[in-house]
Every structure is written in structure tokens, then in C-alpha cells.
Point group: C2
Chain length 247, copies 2
């Protein structure tokens, strides 16, 4: 299971914004009842339908729930606390792990990339994300507990791939919140590179407090601090993701 606080939401938002800068049509999906991705999008106060409705109401389509974030150049499906009740509604459905994939089918031709931001848990909602996805990008904080969390996530991905979604692949492992001068971080990162080779991006996102200010500003790092290392790293990530996608 993916550890808490390792930069999943930060990566979803900034990779999405950077791909949008490169002209890609982007849909971001907030799958976390805490709605942190949604906060970055400066949502209107009167959101009626969210990812909850898409998951539990057979009649609701992506078009009914999509919102626009023009200042960031992306579309998104918002989440709020209502999502916490979704699993109970989904648990007895036939094909309950494929609900999200089926709903997203209609939207696939409208977007170049659909990026799903998951909570730090392993439940039916997250399994739906792994069944809907083609690829998984794993943000990794170079610390022992986060490394454990990643290893368990990779095991889960293997299981999902075998039983539910044969095309699921690991796109890459992105070092995040990286403390360059800490021996522990360097050791963990070296161990990860040794084990996972070229699945690990050769750049990472270094620790910079500016990221913590971006959700308050409702901006990506590309807008908030456009010449910062963080902005450059996320642009480099977008270029890499796009390049691999075209191969």
C-alpha cells in the first residue's frame, strides 16, 4: 500500500499541469475523500456531483461530473467527503472492481492522459483505479517506511495484473521530497536504483517548502514558482512521460 504523505497528490497535479503546458488534453481524477487534489483546482463552492456519483450511480457519466480548471489547463473530477461512503455502495455490485474503468471508457478519446490521484490505502476504490489504469507512476519518499509501502504496492499491482487487468504496467518510480544531504535518503535511493534499475527516473523532486504553499494558492508549482527546481523537475517528468508514451 502506498505510504501517506509521499507526494502522490503533488505529483498528480504538477505532472498534469506540465503535460497540459505541452499541449496535452488532461483529465485529473481525485479519488481521495480528503479532496486535496480538488483544492488545487479552485473548485466552485456549488459542486453537486463528484467522483462519488460516478462510482455509485449507474446513470451518471463522466460528462456529468467533469469540471474545468482553465487556470491550470486541465479538466478534473472532484472528490469530497461523500466518497467515504462509496465503498459500501459498491461492495455488492457485480464487477465491483471495474466500475471506474467502465465509466472512463467513454472519456478516453477526449483526453490524452487521465491521471488518477489515490489515497494512501488499499481498498475497493484504489483497486478500481488499478483496474482502470494502463500505467502506475509511483512517487517514492526515500525513507525506510515509504520504501516498504512501495514494495507492497508493487505486489498488489502484480496481483491486479494477473487477475483483473493484464495491461497494467509500472511506468516509473519518482523520488520525491528528496533530502539530498541525508545519508539515509541517499542509501534508500541507491538501493531502489539498484533493484529497479531504469524504472527509476534519474531525476527526483527535492524537498522544498514552496510545495506546501501551492494548494493554498490553488496553483501548480509551474505557476507558483516557475523557475524553481521543483517546476523544472515536473516539466522534465512530463517530457519523459510523453516521450515514453509515443514509443
Amino acid at each position: 500500500m502506498q505510504k501517506g504523505g509521499v507526494g502522490k497528490t503533488t505529483t498528480a497535479v504538477n505532472l498534469g499541469a506540465a503535460l497540459a503546458e505541452l499541449g496535452q488534453r488532461i483529465l485529473l481524477i481525485d479519488l481521495d475523500a480528503q479532496g486535496h487534489l480538488t483544492l488545487y483546482m479552485k473548485p466552485p463552492s456549488t459542486i453537486e456531483k463528484t467522483i462519488y456519483d460516478l462510482l455509485v450511480d449507474p446513470e451518471t457519466t463522466v460528462t456529468d461530473v467533469v469540471q474545468e480548471a482553465p487556470q491550470m489547463g486541465v479538466h478534473y473530477i472532484p472528490a469530497n467527503v461523500e466518497l467515504a461512503g462509496a465503498e459500501n455502495q459498491m461492495i455488492n455490485e457485480i464487477g465491483r472492481e471495474s466500475i471506474l474503468r467502465d465509466k472512463l471508457e467513454a472519456a478516453q478519446k477526449r483526453y490524452d492522459f487521465i491521471i488518477i490521484d489515490c489515497p494512501p490505502s488499499l481498498d475497493l476504490i484504489v483497486i478500481n483505479a488499478l483496474v482502470a489504469a494502463d500505467e502506475v507512476l509511483v512517487p517514492l519518499q526515500a525513507e525506510f517506511l515509504a520504501l516498504r509501502g512501495m514494495q507492497e504496492l508493487l505486489i498488489t499491482m502484480e496481483r491486479v495484473k494477473r487477475r483483473l487487468n493484464p495491461r497494467l504496467e509500472l511506468t516509473g518510480i519518482l523520488p520525491t521530497l528528496y533530502k539530498q544531504r541525508a545519508l539515509h535518503s541517499q542509501e534508500v535511493l541507491a538501493a531502489v536504483r539498484e533493484k529497479y534499475g531504469d524504472k527509476v527516473y534519474d531525476f527526483g523532486i527535492t524537498d522544498s517548502i514552496r510545495f506546501a504553499e501551492t494548494p493554498l494558492a490553488g496553483q501548480s508549482i509551474l505557476q507558483y514558482a516557475k523557475d524553481s527546481d521543483g517546476a523544472r523537475s515536473y516539466r522534465a517528468l512530463a517530457a519523459k512521460v510523453l516521450e515514453n508514451h509515443r514509443l
Copy 2:
């Protein structure tokens, strides 16, 4: 809901260890299927019963699941990935929010403090913790998203207090992972002190990479780096918790 990666497990372990140093009888309970608290305890490889059994099997008692961690001076109830299946088993039980409280009743006289480490989610398992508990200690990373998470947790606590557990109280808010030189951290902390006054401890745990090494070593910070600021702060927290407890 409590944010991911804000020091919940680190605080549960180190507060528990520091209280044990002061002669208190401590039971730590791992309520996270990722089992990170359990890792610190250097568990035996052959753990058969865990918190999962305590929650779903009416016959299992605390005595059946408790393990000893003599090197840390505490007892603990371990968790592993099996816990992810507990909610489905509990959801149709009468009084499903009080299962943990009822099971812990028998153990209360054997321990001075029972500390429950929760995952970063808001589900039936965490509600069980809030119903079982007398007090909640909230680790707070002084960043915008973590502040949002804390505010939502406090709302949830109010709701649990009203409907399920009238004696639930907020013990205190502990600044964690604190980056002293970052303006954003200072601003968030100042806003928290202003709003929550003396509920906020007047010391915090500053950001130090040594904490990330402790789960690998299977030690508390008091053992791993006994004269460090981190060790001192957790000892100060234990003294404060004990002092308030005796009033």
C-alpha cells in the same frame, strides 16, 4: 481525516516508549494494515493473531493477541495486511463502532496508557478507535493540507463525541516534522496556536532525518539518538501527558 505522513506512528511509538521510561505500563495498538508500528517492535516472524482477530472474532481477547517488546518496555497488539479485510466482517455487526472499546475493557486495569496508532483514513476501524479512546493527541505537520486534515478530524471527533462517546476529548495538538526556518511552517503554526490556544503543546518535534532510520533499527528515538532534540521533545511530551493525566 488525519493527513498521511504527519508523524502519527512516530508519535505513538516514541510517546509510548517515553512513558514506559517513566515507569508507566504501556499498550500500543497498531490499527494500520500497513503495520508500521508493528515494524518498530521487532515482531517475531511467527505472529499468528493480530488486531484483525481481536476485531472480527468474538472469542479472541486482548490476552490472545498481545505481544511484548521488552527492548522498548511496552506491550503491543500487532497489525498486518489481514486487517484490510476487517471492515467487511464488522460492517453488519450490531454496535459495530464499539467492538474495539468492548474488547479493551478487560485490559484497562493492566495498563496505565493504551495508545492506538490509526491509519490516515476515516473508516469503521478509525471510528472504533475514536469510540474506544478517552483522548486524542493530534500530530500536526505545519503545512496547509495537513492543517485541513486536522480540522476535518476535529469535526469528526465532535460528531463521535455527540453520538457515540461523550467522554472523548482533544488532549493536545503536537507540531511534528517542523521546519523551523520555513515561513509557511511558522505561519501555519502561528495560526494554529491562535485558534487552538493552549491545546497546542508549546514545543514540537523538529524535522530530523534520524527518525526515518528508527523503524529500520526497530528502535524508538530515545534508544537510537538518546540525546537528540527529537528524543528530548518526546520525553517532554510524555512528562506533559503524565502530568495532565494526574490532574
